[in-house]
């Protein structure tokens, strides 16, 4: 007897579950039919959570997850091709669900399942707020619908008077420029008096050889001291400086010369080295450092 009563009750419960699921199914099917009208998984979640008919702050995330997974399952049964993002969300929610059932991990660096659920809830609330805001905006009186601007504005004109700021001198100068350009078009190739790197090289080698020596090295001498005196032409002067420095770098590469500079924009020193074996070079190098 007891058994029958229990069975009846159980049956009734089954029925209610069945009815509920059936109602849910049709809601889900309805959602699937209209899937193009939804703006992605969050939007669908929001619609599903509205089915719970409670304040979003009180929704059951577990229930929501279950409904979403049902939704995905139904879509797959119907061979509906949902965008990948819907499946990503499903995987993510399944993970969230499993985490919610697990005991809370202590000292974990990752956000707790409760945090994630809360974040999801916030995401839904925020989106709902914006959807409501959009509706409220549309309900406002709009220009051209409820409120009107003047129908026949005369319009305002701004007559701009241009004052040409051109003098006779400007025009004559322009003409002169054309004439000059014509003359200039018959030009000779320019020649400059410069010191080549080659001549700087032979000059530098000779001068380095004349420097007083201490052991394997000559004394330090500034780059400027290798410059020819009595240079009048600044371009020639600059080219000499550049060529001498370039020649110096080349010699240093060959191991015949050493550079030293104590700081930015400080004088550059050079000294001749006896290009001998590496041991000797290393030793001396340490001495310089010390």
């Amino acid at each position: 007897m007891v058994g029958i009563a229990d069975a009846v009750q159980e049956n009734a419960q089954d029925m209610s579950v069945f009815i509920k699921e059936d109602g849910e199914m049709s809601a889900v099917d309805h959602l699937l039919l209209d899937i193009d009208g939804y703006e992605g998984p969050i939007d669908v979640l929001l619609e599903l959570s509205r089915n719970q008919k409670v304040d979003l702050a009180k929704i059951s995330i577990l229930e929501l997850v279950r409904q979403y997974l049902v939704f995905i399952e139904r879509a797959q049964q119907r061979n509906l091709e949902l965008a990948a993002e819907y499946l990503v969300m499903a995987a993510w929610l399944a993970y969230l669900k499993s985490r919610l059932f697990l005991p809370k991990e202590e000292n974990s660096d990752e956000p707790s399942a409760e945090d994630i659920a809360q974040a999801l809830q916030f995401q839904l609330q925020r989106l709902e707020a914006m959807q409501k805001a959009a509706d409220k905006l549309l309900a406002l009186p709009q220009l051209g619908q409820e409120i009107f601007a003047r129908g026949q504005p005369e319009g305002l004109e701004m007559n701009v008077v241009t004052q040409w700021n051109v003098s006779l001198y400007d025009m004559l100068k322009a003409y002169g420029d054309i004439e000059r350009r014509k003359e200039a078009s018959q030009y000779d190739l320019p020649t400059f008096d410069l010191m080549s790197t080659d001549s700087a090289m032979s000059r530098l080698s000779k001068m380095l050889g004349n420097l007083p020596k201490t052991g394997a090295h000559s004394v330090w001498a500034t780059l400027n001291s290798f410059m020819p005196e009595d240079i009048e032409d600044s371009l020639y002067g600059r080219s000499t400086l550049a060529s001498t420095f370039t020649a110096g770098l080349e010699l240093a590469k060959q191991g015949g010369l050493e550079f030293r500079q104590d700081g930015l924009f400080r004088p550059i020193y050079m000294r001749k080295m006896q290009p001998s074996d590496g041991m000797n070079y290393g030793e001396e190098d340490q001495d310089v450092d010390a």
């Binding site: 993970y95 999801l120 916030f122 925020r126 914006m130 805001a133 309900a139 709009q142 619908q145 409120i147």
Partner: protein, 218 residues
């Protein structure tokens, strides 16, 4: 007195004749030297306060508009307005309430990528415009609403947006990814720990989150 009268008549005519709302400086340019444009505008606004046409101000732009309370009785040809998509309306609301807001932040709120056409449409309607770049990684462009938007929806300023106060109070105007709003302490949470356990999709998702967090953090 007669001079003031001439000034107010001229101001009235200027605002009536203009097809667009006019800024105080544009009005200054057209008014005789020494005219107290600000004072005259107040006087004119007061004169029209009880009439069928009002003088309205939106972000410093002045224009005559029909009175709001007459909307139902006003039998004038309505302009056919383009119906905006839901995505566009949502995006518009997000820009209006969250401004200045980057495209990534709009996507944080909506949970979907923004179609290029959505912002274009709003831009074309003259309701949004680019604001300053955000001084974060990549210097992303921000979007803000325009005076034309406010004018269209009969709003004087952004603070008059419906429900603005409550949304602010309830913290719903947070532009960050949702997870950051609850978990603020450690931004670079167990990415590596997740990888081994979870499906690829989850990792992807987390990756995106992390990247956004990095941008915010910098």
């Amino acid at each position: 007195m007669s001079k003031n009268n001439h000034h107010i008549r001229l101001l009235e005519a200027l605002l009536f004749a203009s097809s667009e709302p006019m800024s105080t400086s544009a009005l200054h340019e057209r008014m005789p030297e020494g005219a107290d444009v600000g004072g005259l505008l107040m006087e004119l606004q007061k004169h029209y306060a009880e009439r069928g046409v009002h003088l309205t101000e939106t972000q410093g732009q002045w224009a005559f508009r029909t009175a709001q309370d007459l909307a139902d009785d006003l039998n004038v040809e309505k302009q056919i307005s383009k119906k905006l998509s839901r995505a566009a309306m949502e995006t518009l609301a997000i820009i209006a309430y969250h401004q200045p807001v980057t495209r990534a932040e709009i996507e944080n709120v909506r949970g979907v990528a923004t179609h290029k056409g959505t912002l274009d449409t709003l831009l074309e309607m003259g309701w949004i415009k680019p604001g300053r770049r955000r001084e974060t990684l990549g210097r992303p462009l921000t979007w803000v609403s325009t005076a034309g938007f406010l004018d269209h929806f009969s709003l004087e300023s952004i603070i008059d947006l419906p429900g603005m106060d409550e949304m602010k109070a309830s913290g719903l105007l947070d532009r960050r990814p949702a997870i950051d709003t609850v978990h603020q302490d450690d931004l670079f949470t167990g990415q590596s720990a997740q990888e081994g356990v979870e499906s690829d999709e989850y990792v992807d998702d987390e990756d995106i989150d992390i990247r956004e967090e990095e941008m915010e953090g910098l």
